[in-house]
Symmetry: C2
Subunit: 384 residues, 2 copies
């Protein structure tokens, strides 16, 4: 199939592009390096330096014999998007082209505005490029479980059957996100659903939990093909942060009470999920929403597991509950459904002690690059 990966330089974008290319698909990677710029501006560079996309594609081709096409450009520029979709006529577009940091989006006006403009602008342009140039294209959008927030009811997969005053309807599941970044994904879903209804788009919106890990089949073949692995407070997801802290001998930074519970998944499972969505497209006029995670943990659960496995490996891992810089419930009900991807065939890679141990070993090979200044939270919105 002909696949465009928007945000193809990202933590998930680049592994996705390689994964699809090795399976024989024709892949185009589009990225404007926004995440690289923000990482530099906020002193939040990834643990392992990654070559630029042109270099990555050449290294990948040398190792694997498949060509990934690279386009450096901005998804919020409609001239670019229009030309790409007109030329390529993709069967599938995977849209990761979003500013992905919650804390960054909470720093101030400029960061919030950049997040809103980039994320909404990119989604709006993908929608229109598909409508104008590739109306049968399956649009696979990465949303986030964070769109739902932490309601007091079971979270379903995108939709809720409501009975109210004796009448029934099926509605978009209510959403209440915890950062502006997560809120932009709520807006994305609103936009997608609107154009699905009026213009018959074909959309899968994947509500993904926090992803952890560094290893994929392709990335392991050559260190230069590694995903950009962030462990800082801005871009790092909590599992990845704790792993690096354990290696660095820094106490694990549990924000507040640590009862915050979310659904997590291994980077390898992101690739599986996106591939399953691609291989099982929806009809025109359908918005399919799938909750993309494999197991739920509280922050304390994760800290305890990293501590246990770390200590078994001779590290002295300490857990510290620090002031929560975020506004979020630290104890709450959480029971989200996630059967849709299992039904499509997902075979989860769970976060076993062995998986944690392997990740620690991998990070340990790069321990000389850990910058401890990147570890403590530098952005707070609790006091706001």
């Amino acid at each position: 199939m002909r696949v465009i990966v928007l945000g193809g330089d990202g933590y998930l974008g680049w592994p996705t592009a390689m994964h699809f290319a090795t399976r024989g698909h024709d892949v185009w990677c589009v990225d404007n390096y926004l995440r690289r710029r923000i990482a530099q501006e906020t002193n939040s560079e990834a643990l392992i330096p990654t070559p630029n996309l042109i270099d990555r594609a050449d290294i990948f081709e040398a190792v694997w014999g498949h060509r990934i096409n690279i386009e450096i450009g901005d998804a919020t520029d409609y001239r670019l998007m229009s030309r790409l979709f007109e030329d390529i006529k993709p069967d599938v577009v995977v849209h990761y082209a979003e500013q992905p940091s919650g804390p960054y989006s909470m720093m101030g006006y400029d960061e919030a505005r950049r997040t809103l403009d980039n994320n909404l602008g990119a989604t709006f342009n993908v929608i229109w490029a598909v409508m104008e140039h590739a109306p049968d294209c399956h649009l696979i959008k990465l949303g986030t479980m964070g769109e739902y927030g932490t309601p007091n009811i079971d979270i379903e997969e995108g939709w809720l059957e409501v009975e109210h005053k004796g009448r029934k309807d099926k509605v978009l599941f209510p959403r209440a996100a915890g950062t502006l970044y997560h809120t932009t994904k709520v807006l994305d879903t609103d936009l997608l659903w609107f154009y699905v209804r009026t213009h018959g788009l074909r959309v899968t919106d994947l509500m993904q939990g926090p992803v952890y890990g560094l290893a994929t089949a392709e990335a392991e073949s050559d260190e230069r093909l590694a995903p950009n692995f962030h462990y800082d407070d801005i871009f790092g997801t909590v599992v990845n942060r704790f792993l690096v802290q354990a290696i660095a001998g820094v106490p694990l930074t549990v924000y507040g009470k640590g009862g915050q519970t979310r659904g997590y998944l291994n980077l390898k499972d992101t690739l599986q999920c996106v591939e399953l969505a691609m291989n099982n497209p929806v009809d025109r006029g359908d918005l399919r929403i799938l909750n993309q995670f494999t197991e739920s943990f509280s922050v304390n659960d994760i800290a305890q597991q990293v501590q246990k496995v770390g200590n078994q490996k001779g590290l002295s891992v300490v857990v510290n509950n620090i002031d929560n810089p975020r506004k979020e419930k630290e104890e709450h009900y959480y029971n989200p459904a996630h059967s849709g991807l299992t039904e499509l065939g997902l075979e989860p890679n769970h976060m076993t002690d062995d998986v944690v141990s392997d990740m620690l070993d991998h990070i340990n090979r790069h321990s000389n690059r850990i910058d401890k200044r990147k570890i403590m939270p530098r952005v707070s919105w609790r006091a706001a």
Copy 2:
């Protein structure tokens, strides 16, 4: 009170500014004339030519002895907004600064993009200007009943008590709008609610139905103070369109079956409602949502009433069911709550036959200006 009216040149903005000024409030009107530009670009000028805002303010002061401060500028420009809120330190901001046409937002990419950028950008800037410079300011935002769409359940005022699998929560009422314009107001509400939760804003979001009428106490004092009354397919609301069609001897354009039901209100009641919201502010950290309309009609109901009253006045009013250019349900359940504003003291001006008759007389005085080319729908999104 110190009141900023954003979009103060609009159909509702200018009457609101005058209404507040005559009650002794200090009023600042901000507008960038976007609606005037779009009206010109789409050949959709209002029935009665209106002076520019500077002239309007001078005429108003000459008649009423109150000064309205005018600022010509763009709410999507944060330098302007920041300066205004820092200088004025308003007690209240009434935010009408949105591209208000559903059909315009459905014309194509450029019109849709302009609507998204303007409406989200203005709302985002108001939020930040309040947070940074006037955190106690009461933000009164005009939303639309169209945010809810036409669900199969009773529409509540903004919130829904949900019971699901034995657990309960109160959630934002589900939304599914019919045009991109209405969808931008869904996104506005999402943004407002997010910043209310995280930064303790004080917000009233008024879900307003279509407004009709030309008369307010201040507007009737001098023809040059009239609101900009649109009767075209782009900016005209259905009641206003039918009234002009009746005067022009053109068959009333009922789109499709005409069973589309909405909640309507008189322009005078918009002023009452916004004033009631202002005089009864909410606490910091509260998002109050009120459904702002006084009575529900189907399109057929309105056509029949205009026909009846028109014929009584000697007009020969014909009703035509034409192909519906929109995607919308033409027969549906509709039972929205609207007790909140009544409880605050709203005394409705209902659409009696006398009110219809007065509006017909008023329009008849300007019948020579009716341009029949503006009447038939020029934008369709049914075929899309």
